[in-house]
């Protein structure tokens, strides 16, 4: 038997046990990552597996690659709207917040462990960032459902704070080794990490999107590989130019994930699988690397440092990073509790082990054991209790009903249509109505209705119930109109001030309007009012929310016909002085 044969056998067993343990996770309420880590420890030299593994370089390599894939997948599933909404607090948390956490934890660690301040700060830097893999795994698991904004802040923070922690760690080591003076070069290192990482990531993402949609590969299985190739390329180029590869792959993922993509579902599935594989491999390897007997030696001191980190450093960092933004006390408390550590600190803790020299031993083995302990405590205590804490703080949201089926359509070319899944809420305008009464626009068809475990082939007389999932096939651009059909009743057009409107047929032309009102219009005289209004419809808005000013006249759609076309237009007349008077309202 060759060595590789045994390795393959062991990997197979470990993966199987890892997946099996994930079934236990929900039952025991322990985050699946902790189980992976425990599995690694059990398989290690001091456990039942007895596998000798103490290759920090290899561990660092596996950790880096796995983390890159996890971050990339995280980026793919992060919507741009989420980032736009929360990037300010998230960015502050990811930079300033990490620094605050690192300094407070570092000072405490130096004192508790009795090591030089600089080495204490090194330890603080290593555990300074929250871990994207852990945060994504915990927040996106079925157990916790949070207000969107909080979840978004925490996810974006965790995905973008690794460069800061890496930079602080490398910086501390360099200073401790006497290679770099604290000063301008130090700051430059950070700026180049962030800037180059960001630029490489965005360019890499754009390039990937461009190529994927044009290359027209014969084998659909190659598309996910192509995307992976771009992910690795982006990471490598960013690192080569002195930027943060982690930040780069995350941003590349965001850019790619938010574009219409050929073979989209396949790509997402593939990277989701890769991310899971990475989680298992990374945590098992890191578990292998740990020696429980040595953990016991540092236990009490590491527990003290953990306490400072969780109860002092993280809350202060959150407070100092988010005070310009409006968060409630409960939200701040929760964000403080989600200071989850994971693979990043353990990977970073291998840095001192690799870089330490005989003149500057840096207490590297001690740091590694303490960091490992802190991570296990963080995952076990914070990770396990997150769901309970969110409930206790009253932040838990009812989950949207999960659809029992998922309809997937993979296009191998760019097509002008989409499949959209609408969850019908209680206040949806569609709830309780017959399919034939929904007034769906032309170019939108209900493919199926999923209710509980049932799949209902829709007919005109099928009634839509609250809680149903309605899956529609749409022509491109139909979504705003369909959103209107499935939107909530409360969002009806109550905001428009009551005006007396003259109803006009939508097929009335501009020329006819001019005949009666002598208005100055730029629109071509033969265009109908429906066309004039439709032209003004903005991306996210529905046609019913759009109004067009034509000289002193204001036109808006008054009614849609059963095909979703504008049927009646309301014309109101505004005088100049009236508009001024109404402005404050």
């Amino acid at each position: 038997m060759f060595l590789i044969d045994s390795i393959i056998l062991i990997i197979g067993i470990l993966l199987l046990v890892g997946i099996a343990s994930s079934k236990l996770s929900a039952r025991l309420g322990i985050p699946v990552l902790v189980l992976f880590l425990m599995l690694g420890m059990a398989a290690g030299s001091e456990g039942v597996g007895g596998i000798e593994f103490e290759d920090y370089r290899l561990a660092h390599g596996i950790g880096t690659l796995a983390l890159a894939m996890i971050l990339f997948d995280g980026g793919l599933s992060t919507s741009l709207t989420a980032i736009r909404a929360v990037w300010k607090p998230a960015l502050l948390l990811a930079t300033w917040g990490v620094l605050v956490t690192a300094v407070i934890t570092g000072v405490a660690a130096a004192w508790i462990l009795g090591i030089p301040l600089l080495e204490g700060l090194l330890l603080g830097s290593i555990v300074g960032s929250t871990d994207a893999a852990a945060v994504f795994a915990v927040l996106r698991s079925r157990g916790v459902s949070l207000p969107r904004r909080i979840a978004d802040v925490l996810e974006v923070e965790s995905a973008s704070n690794d460069p800061m922690a890496i930079f602080l760690t490398v910086g501390c080591i360099e200073v401790a080794l006497g290679n770099v003076e604290i000063g301008l070069g130090f700051v430059g290192l950070f700026v180049s990490q962030m800037l180059i990482g960001a630029v490489c990531g965005i360019l890499g993402g754009l390039a990937a999107g461009w190529v994927v949609n044009r290359i027209e590969l014969d084998a659909s299985g190659m598309y996910p590989v192509l995307i992976s190739a771009f992910c690795l390329l982006t990471f490598g180029l960013a690192a080569k130019f002195g930027g943060s590869g982690f930040l780069a792959v995350y941003l590349a993922g965001v850019v790619i994930g938010n574009r219409p993509l050929v073979f989209r579902h396949g790509i997402r599935r593939f990277h989701d699988a890769i991310a899971w594989l990475s989680q298992i491999v990374m945590f098992v390897v890191l578990g292998l690397l740990c020696f429980p007997s040595r953990l016991a030696d540092v236990g009490v001191r590491a527990l003290l440092i953990s306490t400072v980190l969780v109860l002092v450093a993280r809350p202060l960092a959150v407070l100092l990073s988010t005070f310009p933004f409006r968060f409630t006390g409960r939200e701040l408390a929760f964000m403080s509790w989600v200071g989850l550590k994971g693979a990043v600190p353990i990977t970073l803790a291998t840095f001192p082990l690799m870089l330490a020299t005989p003149e500057h031993p840096l207490h590297a083995p001690l740091l590694f054991d303490v960091v490992f302990f802190i991570v296990v405590v963080s995952l076990a205590v914070e990770g396990t209790s997150l769901a309970a804490v969110s409930r206790w703080l009253g932040l838990e949201r009812p989950r949207d009903p999960e659809p029992p089926v998922k309809l997937e359509i993979n296009s191998l070319r760019h097509v002008n249509g989409e499949v959209v899944d609408y969850a019908v809420g209680k206040d949806s305008r569609a709830a309780g109505r017959l399919v034939k009464d929904l007034a769906l626009p032309e170019g939108a068809v209900i493919a199926l209705v999923a209710r509980g475990d049932q799949i209902i082939p829709p007919q005109g007389n099928t009634r839509i119930h609250a809680g149903d999932h309605v899956i529609l096939v749409l022509r491109l651009g139909m979504q705003p109109l369909v959103n209107q059909v499935f939107g909530s009743e409360s969002k009806t057009r109550g905001s428009i001030p009551e005006m007396l409107e003259f109803p006009l047929r939508a097929s009335t032309t501009i020329a006819e309007l001019q005949e009666f009102y002598e208005i100055q219009v730029t629109a071509p005289p033969e265009s109908t009012l429906a066309e004039v209004i439709s032209r003004e419809v903005d991306g996210g808005m529905s046609v019913l929310e759009t109004s067009v000013r034509v000289g002193p006249l204001v036109l808006r759609a008054l009614r849609l016909d059963s095909d979703g076309h504008i049927d009646m237009v309301g014309m109101s007349i505004r005088s100049e002085n009236e508009e001024v008077a109404q402005a404050p309202v």
Binding site: P503, R505, E518
Partner: protein
């Protein structure tokens, strides 16, 4: 622009007998002929022009009010009249309600600004429920005149 600037008081009809759109408009235009604001020979042309505007969409703007209007070369300035129907007239309004209160406008083609200003004034005043209700209850042309005057002097809510 005030009501007094274009409403012909002699043409006001508070006892419309018409039951359909066409005859209601005929009755209102006839009032303008009686008051001497429209030449008898132009009557049919004006009715035709008003009906043509109705083809674009009913001027029944809901809540029992209609504002039929058009341009016609036979008039030299903006003229208008008010009509009240106790029974109400089916006018194909969007809200399906019968129309009890009419404002009819005819404007010369060369004065588009006046035309729109008058329409704007009417639709703004009619947003006041009290004003509307009082007009519909008017029994005499004098009642209507007083209400219009009060509106012109901003004695109603808006």
């Amino acid at each position: 622009m005030k009501f007094a600037d274009f409403i012909r008081l002699q043409a006001i009809k508070v006892d419309l007998v018409a039951e359909d759109k066409d005859s209601a408009i005929r009755e209102l235009v006839a009032g303008l002929v009686e008051s001497g604001d429209v030449a008898e020979g132009e009557q049919e042309g004006i009715i035709k022009a008003i009906m043509k505007r109705e083809e674009l969409g009913s001027t029944g703007i809901g809540r029992g009010v209609a504002v039929p209007h058009t341009k016609h070369p036979s008039v030299s300035q903006l003229i208008g009249t008010v009509g009240v129907s106790a029974e109400g007239v089916d006018f194909n309004s969007l809200d399906g309600e019968k129309v009890q209160l009419f404002f009819l406008l005819v404007s010369p083609p060369d004065r588009p600004g006046d035309h729109l200003r008058a329409l704007e004034n009417i639709s703004r005043r009619l947003r006041d429920d009290t004003f509307c209700r009082f007009l519909k209850q008017a029994k005499t042309a004098e009642d209507v005149r007083q209400l219009l005057e009060e509106a012109d002097n901003n004695q109603f809510g808006t």
